[in-house]
């Protein structure tokens, strides 16, 4: 189900009612965007609460940044898509912080707000990339289900292997082949659209 998108003017409004209405639309959408990033980057059932905390932290920064309008990064947001992009960037940073805190040292933990990097500058495929799950669904079975286990459910490779009764190394090989196949398909799709 597609939820209605809030207006950027509403999110930045100083009118209490206008602000409240816009943010009530924004919360579930931004939460969903952050959750999607967190599940892809911090997989595993045991990190479920960590993911919730990190997304909540990123969302809090979003609210503060957009409403207060104090920093350049937030002031250069000019569309709802920019908001989603910023939410994903903040979530990635918070996940990176988590890894640094738990698996390396705490000193290089970052807390800065990212500059907006247009998606097109990062991924070279352009049109069609939003349909990546359409391409995933075209992979040979059981890869579509395995991709959903990994990226929608947020399971680790080990958890998928246990859930599906598969050998871990076999699963890694399947994923590696499928990812290579997926990259080629998207490269072809992009070339066709040029």
């Amino acid at each position: 189900m597609l939820l209605p998108e809030p207006s950027l003017e509403g999110l930045r409004s100083t009118h209490e009612l206008g602000s409240r209405d816009a943010w009530s639309l924004a919360y579930p959408l931004l939460y969903g965007a952050g959750r999607q990033v967190a599940k892809a980057r911090l997989a595993g059932n045991r990190h479920q609460q960590d993911r919730e905390d990190l997304v909540g932290l990123a969302l809090t920064q979003m609210v503060r940044g957009i409403v207060e309008k104090k920093t350049k990064s937030f002031n250069q947001i000019s569309s709802w898509d920019d908001c989603l992009r910023m939410m994903r960037s903040l979530t990635r940073l918070r996940v990176t912080d988590f890894f640094r805190e738990h698996y390396r040292n705490r000193e290089d933990s970052v807390a800065e707000i990212p500059d907006l990097v247009p998606f097109a500058e990062v991924v070279s495929w352009g049109p069609g990339v939003e349909d990546i799950f359409v391409e995933i669904d075209r992979l040979d079975p059981p890869m579509p289900e395995l991709f959903r286990d990994r990226f929608i459910e947020g399971c680790t490779i080990d958890e998928i292997a246990e859930r599906r009764g598969l050998n871990r190394n076999t699963l890694c090989t399947w994923f590696a082949n499928a990812l290579r196949d997926l990259r080629e398909r998207l490269n072809h799709s992009f070339a066709d659209n040029l």
Binding site: M1, L2, T14, H15, E16, L17, G18, S19, R20, W23, Y27, P28, Y31, G32, R35, Q36, A40, R41, L42, A43, G44, H47, E52, G56, L59, T60, V63, V67, E68, K69, K70, L84, R88, V95, T96, F99, F119, V122, V123, S124, W125, V129, E130, D131, I132, F133, F147, R150, F151, I152, T156, I157, D158, C172, F175, A176, L179, L182, R183, L186
Partner: protein, 190 residues
């Protein structure tokens, strides 16, 4: 980037990013506790923005801008002067507090220079605070303001009504309603 270094997606950062940004992936609604925290953050950010815009908009120094914010944040309602012997004071310490008086005296604290004047509005509980018609107002006043010195905008309403919600807004004189954040309160049941 997963906990396991052997996760095959590690070698495909562009695919990872595309999957993260794919649309149409359904998510459950945010937990109620998170929504409560976010609303608190939003209201705090609005107050912070009102303070900074107030400071920018008015030709006063930093001290005055800060004091005006304090005036808004610490609005105090005390019992009416109808009972001059009363010693108890009813204080709104958080939005949504309930008072018992229908003709409360309105007082606030600030660190503004002596003589600083303020505009005070009593607004309905609902509606855009910048646009909604005020119920009572008083311009160029200092704290405290007796209720009977407020000007009712409706000839039929001389006092607040029991069992109704209101908002009180105090801003530096001539700064307009944008300079403050209205504080909601409610008059209790009779």
């Amino acid at each position: 980037m997963s906990e396991s270094d052997s996760d095959p997606i590690v070698g495909y950062p562009e695919l990872l990013r595309a999957i993260e940004e794919a649309r149409g992936v359904e998510a459950p609604p945010p937990p109620a506790s998170l929504l409560r925290n976010l609303e608190e953050e939003r209201l705090a950010a609005l107050r912070c923005r009102a303070r900074s815009s107030h400071f920018r908009a008015l030709p006063f120094g930093l001290g005055t801008g800060l004091a005006a914010a304090l005036a808004i944040a610490f609005v105090v309602l005390s019992p009416s002067r109808v009972d001059p012997g009363a010693t108890a004071r009813v204080t709104i310490t958080s939005p949504g507090d309930v008072i018992s008086e229908t003709t409360p005296e309105i007082a606030w604290t600030s660190k503004d220079p002596p003589g600083q004047r303020y505009d005070v509005w009593i607004l309905p509980g609902e509606g855009d605070p910048l646009e909604v018609a005020s119920l009572f107002e008083s311009k160029h006043v200092v704290s405290p303001v007796a209720f009977d010195s407020l000007t009712p905008t409706s000839p039929t309403e001389a006092t607040l009504s029991p069992s109704r919600g209101y908002r009180v807004l105090v801003c530096l004189a001539d700064g307009g309603r944008l300079a403050g954040v209205p504080v909601p309160f409610r008059v209790g049941d009779p």
